[in-house]
């Protein structure tokens, strides 16, 4: 890859073909299905956002904004009311009504293998007040409903009733209200879309600068970059950090960057007396689990040079993290600062905790999931070695990594999480595991703090957004001061495109054709 970079850098300049109103985008991950209620995975959702809308949308900073609903309010503690936008038409010309919304919500629990039921399961009662007003009842006060409904795409009842996955893949049921109409899906190869000239969001203008959009699926990084350089693509997503400098130097290209909602952190086992892979320097298993000691957790955090990782290893495509959610995201506590690199302080803390000689452990990480994940693990291990903690890096492909993580086979492990609110991230990652409340689903460090749990419960039942954000921040502060996990950095997402095309980069990492513009 490095060689390719050097060779490409020496390539001659040539003129790029000037195309009309077509936009060709190279995507980094495979789109598996067109059905917007099947898998909740980013590539599928990315395409769905072009053809469909949801009641609520999120803006570039991952903040909630009106979508098909112009407004929503809590009528009482357990009832939400949504008012639909008037005059919105599906691609087949029929008008959007409350019936379509209701149908879409019901469909999420009917699609076999569908994962969007998660976002609608708390709705116990649904009521159509009039053609443009809906009410939803929940069992307990639930503030997150407008957020959950951001994930529920509204399909046309007429087109999608009695339709299966095949009908979406073929386009028969791909009738939405979104800025683009569906044209063709060739699995493993491409998705083609055409502009919806009567898009409600266009406000009389054009919904996009492009009549036709072609998404090509090219997961191999060098091939995607080559496609951009050869003029086959107008834009690509997820540019590898190693190629950033090369694109910055290229006069024909430009990049767009934005801090992502994805936070990379280490979780450490805090619930068992003995954790796997922990030993003293002579190889004897440790009698007690050092990670249960706050001083040890703080020491390991101080041992990490976040600035160096972000600047050198990530080519500045990362910012050091102090929170579980990145700065633009709801519930980010700004008063928390990234831990400063302090190896001497780390050594002192380790000695205080009874580990003057340090100890040995296994540092588990993925090698194909997060940007530069294995290199980050190696760098972290070297930094830990400087304070006396000998970390053996065990890097695994994600398909082997996640099942092991869930089984509790790791003591100190890398993880990444993207969430559009702090309380949601805390609920999944640090809340005490409780299946009925849906708390701690991914709390693999086994951290448990009743005060954090209580703050989160209060946040989820608080329909006042400002109050909720204050509670989410309080919970974040508590968990971070306890080192429930050790945050490392927030990834910065990079798009590259040929001039003069520009992109409005998004925190949620999505690549939206309608947000590419020619100034």
């Amino acid at each position: 890859m490095r060689l390719v970079r050097i060779l490409v850098a020496g390539s001659l300049l040539w003129t790029l073909p000037v195309r009309g109103a077509d936009l060709r985008i190279g995507l980094a991950a495979d789109v598996t299905s067109m059905d917007p209620h099947f898998l909740s995975i980013a590539p599928n959702i990315n395409i769905a956002w072009h053809v469909f809308d949801a009641l609520t949308h999120v803006d570039e900073d991952a903040r909630l904004v009106p979508g098909l609903a112009v407004s929503w309010r809590a009528v009482d503690a357990t009832t939400w009311e949504f008012r639909l936008r008037r005059g919105v038409r599906f691609h087949d010309g029929t008008e959007l009504t409350a019936e379509d919304v209701l149908f879409s919500i019901e469909r999420t629990s009917q699609v076999p293998g569908g994962q969007f039921r998660t976002f609608t399961q708390r709705i116990l009662g649904k009521e159509i007040v009039d053609a443009h007003t809906l009410r939803f009842k929940t069992a307990t006060p639930y503030a997150m409903l407008p957020y959950d409904l951001n994930s529920v795409f509204v399909v046309s009842k007429k087109a999608a009733a009695r339709s299966g996955a095949e009908d979406f893949d073929s386009g028969k049921a791909m009738i939405g209200t979104g800025p683009f109409r569906f044209v063709r899906f060739a699995r493993g190869d491409r998705v083609e879309l055409a502009r919806n000239d009567s898009y409600w969001g266009a406000q009389g203008g054009k919904s996009a600068a492009w009549e036709k959009v072609i998404f090509r699926i090219v997961p191999t990084d060098p091939a995607r970059l080559a496609g951009l350089l050869s003029g086959e693509f107008d834009a690509i997503e997820q540019v590898p950090t190693a190629d950033l400098a090369r694109i910055r130097r290229d006069a024909r290209m430009q990049i767009a960057q934005k801090v992502s909602w994805r936070t990379i952190f280490f979780y450490l086992d805090q619930y068992r007396d003995r954790a796997p892979g922990l030993a003293d320097k002579a190889g004897r298993p440790l009698e007690r689990n050092p990670f249960r000691d706050l001083r040890v957790r703080r020491a390991l955090s101080k041992a990490l040079n976040r600035q160096a990782i972000a600047e050198r290893l990530m080519d500045r495509a990362a910012i050091p993290a102090s929170n579980l959610v990145s700065p633009p995201v709801f519930g980010h506590a700004q008063d928390l600062a990234p831990e400063l690199y302090d190896p001497d302080g780390a050594k002192r803390l380790l000695a205080e905790a009874g580990y003057p000689e340090g100890f040995a452990m296994t540092l588990s990480a993925t090698n194909n999931r997060y940007v530069n994940d294995e290199q980050i693990a190696q760098a972290a291990a070297q930094m830990l070695a400087r304070v006396g903690v000998r970390a053996r890096v065990e890097a695994l492909p994600v398909n082997a990594y996640l099942p092991k993580g869930r089984k509790g086979e790791f003591a100190f492990a890398m993880f990444g999480w993207g969430s559009f609110s702090g309380d949601l991230a805390l609920r999944a990652l640090v809340a005490t595991a409780n299946a009925d409340k849906g708390f701690g689903t991914f709390n693999w460090s086994g951290y448990s703090n009743p005060r954090v749990d209580e703050l989160l419960e209060r946040a989820f039942s608080s329909v006042d957004e400002r109050k909720r954000e204050a509670l989410a921040r309080d919970a974040m502060r508590l968990a971070m001061r306890d080192y429930a996990v050790i945050p490392l950095h927030h990834q910065v997402t990079t798009w590259a495109m040929r001039k003069p095309i520009a992109y409005a980069p998004r925190t949620d990492e999505f690549t939206f054709a309608h947000h590419f513009r020619v100034p």
């Binding site: 898998l39 909740s40 076999p112 994930s151 699995r187 190869d189 050869s230 092991k404 299946a435 689903t441």
Partner: protein, 324 residues
């Protein structure tokens, strides 16, 4: 002949059964696909419900027998990731791979045999040496690197050919193919060259060494002494003997090129079966992995059968069905 074919088919069922057990146990040992495909926002109950819906909560032997029961009725399951039947998914991708593999093997054989013959007949000539040098490179350079270099030179620098993808397809008897349109052909060139290189080198070397051996043999000298033309000596007497190992190897290699063109398909984003297999392994999409390997086993059996038949045609001493 018939008994030979029947025996082969029976053997292949045994192989299929053994393979399916291995793959099932292997994927199970790695972990649950639910851990990878799970919606991060889902709660514990939802994950448990989804796992049960796919039958992944049952003990492995039970899962296996449910699979076998369905497989005997022709249902190999639905893909966890694509939500369509696994067999359909693979068959949908198959034409792209078959086209690529066939084109690559055609190049390997049609170019490799004449070049190998030349290098074998005139080993000390400049051309002979050059051919061998190229074949050594073709052997030793990694496919991944060669693919990137091809893209770099022909797409990025020269801008002659597209970097990736299959391009437009035309229908031939209902099957989408690339080679009927100019644009499709342009997309086919680089991946084919990438995939063909290794086998081209292999065929060159086999043909060359076979030729070198044959021209020293008594029957060739005898044929020359009889006054036969050089064309007849080489084209009939030498070539027939040289072809036997070439056909074996080409047959086996054709199978692997179809089944495991993964690297080339990944680099060139060629929407074939190999890429599907890798994608499926990455998310532990077991129905697709199992169905894929079943098809590959069937394919190998068919190709080996074809190779056996070709033998008996090329070498009259080989008689199928008589061997005990």
């Amino acid at each position: 002949m018939i008994s030979h074919i029947v025996r082969r088919v029976l053997q292949s069922f045994a192989v299929l059964a053994a393979m399916s057990v291995l793959v099932f146990a292997g994927v199970y040992a790695v972990g649950s696909p639910m851990d990878i495909l799970v919606n991060p926002q889902a709660d514990q109950n939802e994950i448990a419900r989804a796992t049960a819906a796919l039958g992944l909560d049952r003990p492995l032997p039970e899962q296996y027998f449910i699979f076998i029961g369905r497989a005997l009725t022709g249902d190999l399951g639905k893909s966890f990731a694509f939500n369509v039947p696994a067999i359909g998914l693979i068959l949908e991708r198959m034409p792209a791979t078959l086209e690529l593999a066939t084109a690559a093997m055609l190049i390997a054989v049609l170019l490799g045999i004449p070049l190998g013959l030349w290098a074998g007949l005139k080993p000390r000539s400049g051309a002979g040496k050059a051919i061998m040098a190229v074949s050594i490179l073709g052997f030793s350079l990694p496919t991944f690197w060669v693919g990137l270099m091809l893209i770099l030179v022909f797409s990025v620098w020269l801008g002659w050919l597209p970097t990736s993808g299959r391009g437009p397809t035309a229908n031939l008897l209902g099957v989408p193919v690339s080679f009927l349109t100019l644009e499709g052909l342009r997309h086919l060139v680089l991946p084919t060259a990438n995939l063909a290189l290794f086998n081209l080198s292999l065929v060159i070397r086999l043909t060359r060494s076979g030729t070198r051996e044959a021209i020293g043999q008594d029957y060739v000298r005898f044929a020359r002494a009889k006054g036969l033309t050089e064309t007849r000596v080489v084209g009939v007497h030498v070539l027939r003997n040289v072809l036997v190992p070439v056909v074996t190897v080409a047959g086996v290699e054709f199978g692997s090129v179809i089944a495991f063109a993964v690297v080339t398909e990944s680099i060139f984003a060629w929407p074939g079966m190999g890429k599907l297999l890798i994608d499926s392994i990455n998310v532990l999409d077991r129905p697709v992995i199992v169905a894929y390997l079943c098809i590959v086993v069937a394919l190998f059996v068919a190709i080996n059968l074809a190779v056996d038949l070709a033998y008996s045609w090329i070498d009259p001493r080989v008689r199928l069905g008589e061997a005990r």
